[in-house]
Symmetry: C2
Subunit: 120 residues, 2 copies
């Protein structure tokens, strides 16, 4: 399971079914790489490919139940690990972090837009 595969599954979990070309742009890889990646994950049962009635060229990539379960399990694992780290902080430290969450979220948003910009 490569980084790009995992990221692609997370993207699908977040945003729902996407075209292969969309996913390639979002994940910063070439279209053929995404085509192969999707095929491998389809064979693993994590995603399925569907056509698009409005455009016969398009393949829509959708998470399967197994795929969704996989993503959510991984996400929960990350959340749990983070919680364990947070548990080791002092109350003051936690408070400061909580107070900084809006700023951190804003930073993440700005960074995300930056990445989109630089890909265009």
């Amino acid at each position: 399971m490569s980084i790009t595969s995992a990221a692609t599954l997370a993207t699908l979990d977040r945003s729902g079914p996407r075209r292969i070309t969309d996913l390639a742009v979002i994940e910063g890889v070439t279209q053929p790489a995404m085509t192969v990646l999707v095929r491998v994950m389809e064979e693993s049962g994590l995603v399925e490919r569907r056509g698009d009635a409005s455009d016969k060229r398009v393949t829509l990539v959708c998470l399967t139940k197994a795929g969704t379960s996989y993503v959510q399990t991984r996400h929960q694992t990350g959340v749990d690990a983070f919680a364990r780290l947070i548990d080791e902080l002092t109350d003051d430290e936690v408070e400061a972090l909580v107070a900084a969450l809006p700023a951190l979220a804003h930073l993440a948003e700005l960074e995300s837009q930056d990445q989109e910009g630089s890909k265009r």
Copy 2:
């Protein structure tokens, strides 16, 4: 320049000359991968290999001037990019971030120890 190469250069910048096996452990790759990586970077002029008088088996990997310059340029690029993001925050947001820096640093430290633990 792979992620592992860049990370290895940063490690050398931070910690000084290291053995190939140390670097492999630190960067989470196998020893042969690190051997090859170091050779490639040596050929690029970014590192040099030195023996160790106390143990003839050992190769110590050291940054060259060009390597140091490369690492510091990349670091500054990252700092500049981050500063541009910070410039887009409100004063309140910046304040909250500054107040949270000790907590963030502590988190990073804990996470770093976690990673070391899981590699052993």
